[in-house]
């Protein structure tokens, strides 16, 4: 390789050459779409809804209006239970802006249960109705020892609901 590979800067040097600062004032407003619109509306009523593919019987939670595998339109809706199993869980010690948090939070992916009597759905470890959420009622040691994997959890609903994923405060470990 040739000699000139660019000019690295120390943090101090950076301050002397950083000339322009920009703070974009762009604000974003997202629409829910069809499937997530219904999903949020049902959360407001304290229920978790998904869609089912009539062809392959996969259950989609969060719902989609199309089957990603069969590429068909989905029109069958299903209420899944607000209980499930922990597929993975971690401890976050930093905030969304990378500041140190006072106490770590447990977050994970929860595989949600189907209502009883629906045996023909295509649900297994490689594809399942699942959401990311906070997990409460678990200790740091539960996560670090990986005891938390496979634990049963139930949604802890807020009394004031607004139609948001945060209408569920967390998924609480069932003792």
């Amino acid at each position: 390789m040739s000699k000139y590979l660019g000019t690295p800067l120390s943090e101090k040097d950076f301050e002397t050459v950083a000339k322009e600062a920009a703070k974009p004032s762009a604000k974003y407003r997202y629409t829910t779409g069809i499937a997530l619109g219904r999903f949020l509306d049902e959360l407001r009523r304290g229920r978790i809804i998904g869609t089912v593919c009539s062809h392959c019987r996969r259950v989609y939670v969060p719902p989609r209006i199309y089957c990603s595998h069969c590429f068909r339109e989905l029109s069958e809706w299903i209420y899944v239970r607000d209980e499930g199993t922990i597929q993975t869980a971690v401890l976050t010690y930093i905030s969304t802006t990378r500041e140190r948090m006072e106490k770590p939070l447990v977050v994970g992916v929860i595989k949600l249960d189907l209502p009883e009597g629906y045996g023909d759905y295509a649900v297994d470890e490689t594809f399942y109705p699942g959401v990311m959420h906070y997990i409460c009622g678990a200790t740091e040691e539960d996560v670090k020892s990986r005891r938390i994997f496979g634990k049963r959890v139930k949604a802890k609903w807020r009394s004031e609901k607004t139609g948001s994923i945060r209408d569920i405060e967390c998924f609480e470990v069932i003792p």
């Binding site: 920009a22 971690v90 500041e99 992916v109 906070y134």
Partner: protein, 355 residues
């Protein structure tokens, strides 16, 4: 050697270039791209006039805050992440999360990696100290790389395990850094390659896949997107047994567990077996299957859009015998470079040969 069966004409890499990879560089994105591209052309013994087409890559524009890209040559990739000033470049990643069902939970980027890593550890009962060996190997390999940002000849497993815990099980030294930097390659036809160099490195297989962004519905312990990209590239290159036929590989390692995860996706190790190969020294530079002899993203740095091309450049250096102190011990004829991106979804694989 098996000939590439699907291309009418072979494509060769005849030159490569890299800037320094650093947390902060004075040079602008355009300057970085120019440095890497000029080096690649010099390496090839060619000039700009010889180049017919240019392909440029960079990751989210939000990083460098500049949306005007252009006037680059050949295959160039640059990234200037450090311009994303406050609160931290990783905040830009907030916008990769689903705005309706994920962003309201105030995630940071590391969550998703931690969840995947922990699932992988739990599925195959893998210890953190075995994963840390990847970081140790790569940061030590990087000592011999002139562009490297985080080389560390004295790094140990203990040092990795004692670094700041960010999102358990991910600690600071499990992660590649925020980097500025650029990489470039010069590609030519077979006819031109034979004329301009005695050591062309052929691109014999290319594969790429994009899985869905809906990541909370699937098994995270195995990267299906990488397996499919690998199968596509292997088919094109006529590779039937990657573990036996690939001599050296640069697999994507933005996090240490990702190297193991991706080795398994690529069929370079059985499922859950990559940590054992690492522990046994198989993936060291003098091992039977050297992985990331450059030092990888953990050691050389991770200017996101330029990182994959850095890996292709390393395989070119290795197969053309230009890797200097980094040259792997065994003779190498077939190499693989792999990149990854987005929400556990995108896989790109390139198979290269020196014969």
């Amino acid at each position: 050697m098996k000939m590439n069966t699907e291309l009418k004409q072979r494509v060769a890499v005849v030159g490569a270039g890299l800037t320094l990879f650093r947390r902060r560089m004075l040079d602008t994105p355009k300057e970085l791209a120019w440095i890497a591209a000029k080096q690649a052309l010099d390496d090839a013994g060619l000039t700009l006039k010889d180049v017919d087409a240019v392909v440029i890559g960079s990751a989210p524009d939000a990083f460098d805050g500049v949306h005007l890209k252009g006037e680059y040559l050949s295959v160039v990739a640059e990234e200037k992440m450090s311009s994303a000033a406050k609160p931290h470049p990783q905040y830009v990643f907030r916008y990769i999360w689903d705005p309706i069902v994920e962003k309201p939970l105030d995630p940071n980027l590391i969550w998703i990696f931690a969840m995947e890593m922990h699932r992988y550890m739990n599925k195959y009962n893998i210890k953190k100290e075995d994963i840390a060996l990847v970081s140790v190997k790569n940061k030590r390999n990087a000592v011999d790389h002139p562009s490297a940002q985080l080389p560390d000849p004295n790094i140990t497993v203990e040092k990795v395990l004692n670094s700041e815990t960010l999102v358990w099980p991910v600690q600071q030294l499990d992660i590649s850094p925020v980097s500025d930097g650029a990489a470039a390659l010069v590609l030519t036809s077979e006819k031109v390659a034979r004329r301009v160099t005695d050591n062309p490195v052929w691109i014999d297989g290319v594969g790429f896949t994009l899985d869905t962004t809906h990541w909370t519905n699937r098994e995270l312990a195995f990267p299906a997107y990488v397996r499919r990209a690998g199968e596509m590239a292997y088919k094109m290159a006529g590779i039937n047994n990657p573990r036996r036929e690939i001599d050296v590989a640069e697999v994507y390692d933005p996090f240490d567990y990702k190297e193991l995860h991706h080795m398994e996706g690529l069929g370079l190790a059985g499922r859950g077996e990559a940590p054992r190969l690492t522990k046994e020294g198989v993936t060291q530079r003098d091992g039977d299957l050297p992985i990331n002899p450059s030092g990888g993203l953990l050691g050389v740095g991770n200017p996101i859009a330029a990182a994959g091309l850095m890996k292709v450049a390393e395989i070119y250096y290795q197969l053309s015998g230009k890797a200097g102190k980094r040259q792997v011990k065994k003779p190498v004829y077939t190499g693989l470079a792999q990149a990854w991106g987005d929400l556990m979804q995108a896989g790109t694989v390139i198979v290269m040969r020196s014969t």
